[in-house]
């Protein structure tokens, strides 16, 4: 390898490491997590086996083993060697132990009363009721809520219980009672099945499209073109004002909006003068919430487009404006035929960049409405965040969250490719045909 090549590689290394570490690896991990049912409950390491009310329900519903589930749920009394040894150790009469082993050994009773009746028929039965109860208690067997480190241990305990299992039942029971995470595609079927998903999808579309169209490109274009035709000083001041939302801290910026919109805020106080009852304008209905969400994000987002478009307009040679003027073009025609076509690349850039960043940005929504009211402003990225990383229920569903995030990744990549196609990237970088 020659020197310049290895130098190039060396210089590229930080970039490669960065891309691998902060883009490729997270995407791969997301894809991996998306195929699991990891959550706070399962943990991210392996799990144990536990027969719980919910795992028994699962056994009945998902594995069709209702009978087995009922059996396991019942408290049983089984006379086995373990129990006999226990009563012997407790100081029970040796004759009673021997008689029980001979007559009742291996038998299982569904109810305590049945066991007690059987004991009463024995010759060396206990004399008083208290002793009888203590005796029958010792043979009480149940695996509900008991935790086993392995499937084998649980199955052994089941057998001890006196419940015989077929091979099918064994595997069903092991699956149903496993508390760790497992590989599954259920995240995706669940995503498709849930009506919530469609709602979130529509929300995301409204959010991205409205903010992008109205503010990030639309209003940014209006600002940049308006300031282009303004004298330099007012134009500069005007642009600086529109930069303020971008440079104010997001938390404070959203807080200002909340002060504006709260039922004791500026809007309500001001409108009270006209007899309008005070209310929380931000959260009182979905339409208002959306208007605020678009305004909050748009005021921040417009500044970037404004700067990019302004500098792009400045880069248009002044003689083009002069030429179009003497060619008879009015201002509108100048905007339509000179400025807008020249802004094709910047508009592509802003549309791409901002739609992708809007798609994944939810901080202002989180701060302002937290997806409310009633999930009306919950967008995909926010839903992902709430599902996987932060919610009231406390069960963070990493697997489902990753599946949601994976959708964002795929949409982002597909959108990027689509933009390049729509804006005809290839012809724009085509070399010119010059003939001298």
């Amino acid at each position: 390898m020659n020197g310049s090549k290895s130098l190039g590689l060396m210089l590229l290394t930080p970039a490669i490491v960065f891309v691998l570490l902060f883009f490729v690896a997270p995407v791969i991990l997301t894809a991996v997590f998306a195929l699991t049912n990891m959550s706070t409950a399962t943990g991210i390491t392996g799990g144990a086996y536990q027969v719980t009310q919910s795992s028994l329900r699962k056994l009945a519903e998902s594995y069709g083993q209702a009978e087995l589930a009922n059996t396991l749920a019942e408290t049983r009394y089984t006379v086995n060697e373990e129990g006999l040894e226990a009563i012997a150790a407790d100081g029970a009469d040796a004759r009673l132990v021997a008689e029980m082993r001979a007559k009742l050994g291996g038998r299982s009773f569904e109810k305590r009363r049945d066991l007690e009746s059987a004991i009463k028929t024995l010759n060396s039965r206990p004399r008083n009721t208290r002793a009888l109860k203590a005796l029958s208690d010792t043979f009480h067997r149940s695996i509900v809520n008991e935790r086993f480190e392995s499937a084998d241990a649980m199955l052994r305990a089941t057998t001890n219980l006196g419940v015989a299992l077929s091979a099918d039942q064994k595997s069903a029971l092991a699956d149903a009672t496993y508390t760790g995470w497992v590989w599954t595609t259920q995240n995706f079927t669940r995503m498709i099945a849930l009506p919530d998903t469609q709602r979130t999808l529509i929300n995301t579309f409204i959010y991205v499209f409205a903010t992008l169209a109205i503010f990030n490109t639309g209003f940014a274009l209006v600002l940049s073109i308006a300031t282009h035709y303004m004298p330099a000083r007012p134009a500069g001041i005007f642009r600086a004002i529109w930069l303020l939302p971008r440079i104010s801290p997001p938390v404070l910026y959203v807080l200002l909006w909340k002060w504006l919109a709260w039922d004791t805020g500026f809007l309500s106080n001001f409108l009270a003068n006209f007899g309008v009852a005070p209310r929380n304008w931000l959260l009182d209905n979905p339409t208002n919430a959306w208007i605020f969400i678009v305004l909050i994000n748009g005021f921040v987002g417009a500044s970037m487009g404004m700067l990019i478009f302004s500098s792009a307009i400045k880069a248009i040679p002044g003689s083009l404006f002069h030429a179009s003027e003497v060619d008879g073009a009015s201002r509108w025609q100048q905007i339509r035929y000179i400025i807008l076509p020249q802004l094709r690349w910047p508009i592509l850039f802003i549309t791409c960049y901002q739609s992708l960043s809007l798609l994944t940005s939810f901080e202002y929504i989180l701060l302002a409405t937290e997806g409310g009211p009633g999930g009306a402003t919950e967008v995909w990225a926010l839903k992902t965040y709430l599902t996987a990383l932060n919610n009231y229920a406390g069960n963070l569903e990493y697997g489902y969250g990753a599946a949601l995030a994976l959708v964002l990744v795929v949409v982002g990549v597909v959108l990027s490719l689509a933009y390049l196609k729509v804006f005809d990237f290839k012809t724009m970088v085509r070399p010119p045909r010059i003939e001298q």
Partner: protein, 348 residues
Amino acid sequence: MRILLKNFGKSFGAVNVIENLNLEIHDGEMLALLGPSGCGKSTTLFAVCGIHKVTAGQILFGDRDVTHVPSQQRNVGVVFQNYALYPHLSIAENIGFPLKIRKESAAEIKRKVHEMADLVQIGALLDRRPAELSGGQQQRVALARALIRRPDVLLLDEPLANLDAKLRLEMRSEIRRIQQETGITAILVTHDQVEAMSMCDRIAIMKQGQIVQIAAPMEMYDNPVSDFVAGFLGNPPIAFVDGALTGSVFESSGIRIELPSAAQRNGGPVKLGIRPENFQPEFPQKVSGEVTFVESQGRETLYDVRLDDGQILRSIQGHAVRAGVGERVSWGISPDNILIFDEKGARL
């Protein structure tokens, strides 16, 4: 159409670029505004086309006062120095742009575009983009766009400045041909005296916001009103020699010349202007000096001759080299063609 500037003035803020300028361009005439950088020639042009607002005076197209008419309604065609073609439009769309703005029918635009393209000979390039054209081709497109709506006046702002020497020569005659074919009134802004002299019917030479002289090219060359005009026209440039005039005899420490047709002036300091073609070996009034510089231009050879007092005369002669650097020569001046200026530069 006749163009008239009456007492025209233009200032940018506190800076007066042009004051009280009067200029008439005849119908169908091509006039050059010639002058060094910053003399106000482009400012005048931009005022005529309406890009610059006029601060004083009047501009008339024919009898129509257009002083305060916006450029959109002036009906002028402009060729800019960098051509100012719309990079995102095809050549056909560029040429047809002024008509499209006027909402003429597509068929009409197409017909006129082809007509114009034929006139400027770029019919084969109509579907290209400006970036795919060479400088000369772009120049032709700019001309076609300026001419397509039959403007009252065609304004050319340094149209040849961005072309290489060979193309410049070709486009010089092309622009002139097109102007004469269309019979349009035209104003050419240039700092190149060769362009002005070869392309235009008349030249208005400008200096510091003032028109110094307006005349036909040869008339201006032969009878410049000042040393500035004389120095601006002609390549290689005229040489000036300072000295004093006594009667009809010019004297400086280096030379003494008898001037038959000179204005009578006693003992005053004057400046003689001697063009290189009037300083030749065969001419009568001999002057001697040392050759300090020889430049062979192929068909001709240019010599700088330093007189004994250090002043320089230039001579341009035929192909054969007659003297080398350092050689002493004694060549003659044709007294009839000497231009005499007073110490302020005004022609005597």
